[in-house]
Subunit: 364 residues, 2 copies
DNA sequence: TTTAGCAGTCTTTTAAACTGACTGCTAATA
DNA sequence: TATTAGCAGTCAGTTTAAAAGACTGCTAAA
């Protein structure tokens, strides 16, 4: 259902635009009128196509690299293609099977599953693959323990209900007595299991303020540590990314200069993870939408203006718990990529759900 | 002290070879006889230099890209340079200060220190920077805890005496009772603290065989988990690497084809980590040596034949606990890089030592 | 041994001519 | 009015030839 359909009205124009994009994605060479006439519209003369192509260029959908060359799609054209011209496509059976197989060895650690997900995404799309997990403060606590490392040192270990394990060393300004720490652990897990980390901190603080007496200063200590943990979090630690070297494949030699910048900004993580953080917020707010596409200059990072990002959220039940996707060349097969990323998202969600179930499970 | 000094005997030949290497490293252009005569040997005519250069080429130290071009050093030349021609160089004061400053914020988590070390190495050398930690089974246990995750699920958390934290989820075929697990933790840490993981497993097994009775099956459980942990370890998890995009800088266009392969093999980790594993063994066996250089085809991975690797071991006391270094273009400033990598290795060792001390520390 | 000098080799640069792939326009056509 | 055929014009890419530039190798003399 096309809600809004700007400017391009006529069917033939759309057909021509679609053809040019598909042809360009395959060949990566500017597309000329003759080719379109032959391959896509046998009854129509190339002159007609030329007229249309000129109009499309004036409207900003096509670009001519030089006056006698064919035309290539602009970012606007890709956007139009993704929004209106691409038919929803079933993921190919072979790919589907490969993905399902990849998730079949079920009893892997979730951290490793995330890395494998990146690798698989990368391998299947010849792009870089990534997974972006929610911020720990929004994660539901599966288990939180404080381990004694030294007289004044504690290691906080958090397992989220999504299976991600995080740890922070904490230095406290009192001497830690191991047996008391054990009691603290018991107390905490009783109090906050099932809450998000943020809420856990709130609950403990409430307890502290007008709750029971805080005999050994347990509650206060726990509060402080939780606060530290929340503050220490930063975006880039939520990001897994693999397969960056794929970006080097299929790159024409004039793009090499840009490439170094692109890879650097992704590798440095901070900016890129920030971008994904915002995207996750968007997808959470817009419940209906799952897959998102950012084409070239639509990306807020100017370094990524020659790349496109395809993202899907993944969830357990109705809780969106992360993002995954690919970063690749603008001239990618958008429809295939979108359905693929979407499917992987579903599989990852299911895998995490299974992991949760296996925790409850009593049998071998 | 030159132990062995093959083939090239005369001083002038060495001087010429050294000049050519240094010049080529700076300009990355083939070096001609005239330039050497002018810059390096004002009293000598270019014809003489030519004769010498021809001889050096016949001996395999120089290579002519084409008959009328200047000459470039071969891998053999770099090797000779590193072994005999490069004077040990003090690291520049500025660089030294920068590195010291980087390690000044002392109370960071070790995992993060390792990542920062990679980044710094990369930034200062325009190469990729890496750290390779010892295998956990050879690491001394600082603390090992089993946390209850579910009826049949345990999370094993290991802190090594080098400050590295590792965790494994373990599924056991019995129902886990949290309070018993606590007792197990206490028992284990009492028994194995200060041992390597491998030895810890052995000790527990000995205890099990002809030691005290194993009332609740604690010891057996612990043994099994330790065994799993040791087996699950693989090389690539010991490797931290950052700054791969630096390899794209300063690369001439004809090298781009190779580049993709190089980056892929490093990114995939397994093979590269294997290489480093062997190198660590070498350095451990050869106590006197700390810094190691592998030039181009000396690397066992054919994909890396256009790169050089500079490695230094780092240690606490007399225990070598890891490797760090850089991967960069063959035409690098070997002497500067070697002293820099060496110094960073020393700083990292000190930092870990300080961390250990801070654990013992009672004061704020 | 060393050197000056020159011939020879091969890349790089420059320029000109040519080719091929398109487009834009115009005038005719349906 | 929409379409078309046909042709002139544009410009990147390729080819070719010529010239310049950067070295080397060799030889004969110092």
């Amino acid at each position: 259902m096309r809600i809004l359909k700007p400017e391009i009205a006529k069917e033939r124009e759309e057909k021509i635009l679609r053809m040019i994009i598909q042809e360009y994605v395959q060949t990566r060479k500017p597309v000329g009128s003759e080719l379109v006439a032959q391959k896509g519209l046998p009854g129509v003369s190339s002159a007609t196509i030329r007229n249309t192509m000129k109009k499309l260029e004036e409207e900003g959908y096509l670009h001519q690299v030089h006056s006698s060359g064919g035309r290539i799609p602009t970012d606007k054209a890709y956007r139009y293609y993704v929004d209106y011209l691409s038919k929803i496509q079933q993921i190919a059976l072979k790919e589907r099977q490969r993905i399902e197989q990849e998730y079949a060895q079920n009893n892997e650690e979730i951290n490793r599953v995330l890395v494998h997900t990146c690798r698989m995404l990368s391998a299947m799309t010849h792009s870089a693959g990534f997974v972006f997990t929610s911020n720990v403060q929004d994660s539901v606590v599966q288990r939180l323990d404080f381990l004694p490392l030294g007289p004044c040192n504690i290691l906080a270990v958090l397992v989220t209900s999504e299976g991600v394990v995080k740890h922070w060393p904490v230095r406290v300004n009192r001497i830690v007595i191991p047996t008391k720490l054990l009691m603290l652990n018991a107390y905490i897990n009783e109090q906050i299991s099932g809450l998000t980390l943020r809420n856990a901190q709130r609950v403990l603080w409430e307890n502290l303020r007008h709750g029971n007496t805080d005999e050994d200063g347990f509650c206060e200590l726990a509060c402080k540590i939780l606060k530290d943990m929340i503050n220490a979090q930063n975006y880039s630690e939520q990001l897994y990314i693999e397969g960056m070297s794929s970006l080097l494949d299929n790159v024409s030699s004039d793009e090499y200069n840009e490439l170094s910048k692109m890879m650097r900004v992704i590798e440095e993580r901070d900016k890129f993870a920030g971008l994904l953080g915002e995207k996750m917020q968007e997808l959470k707010n817009n419940k209906g939408k799952k897959v998102s596409v950012s084409i070239g200059s639509e990306n807020e990072l100017s370094e990524l203006k020659n790349l496109s990002i395809i993202t899907s959220s993944y969830s357990v039940g109705d809780r969106t718990i992360g993002l995954l996707g690919i970063v690749g060349p603008k001239h990618m097969e958008y429809t295939r990529m979108m359905s693929l990323v979407n499917f992987v998202g579903e599989m990852l969600g299911m895998t995490i759900k299974n992991w949760q179930a296996s925790l409850e499970d009593h049998k071998e």
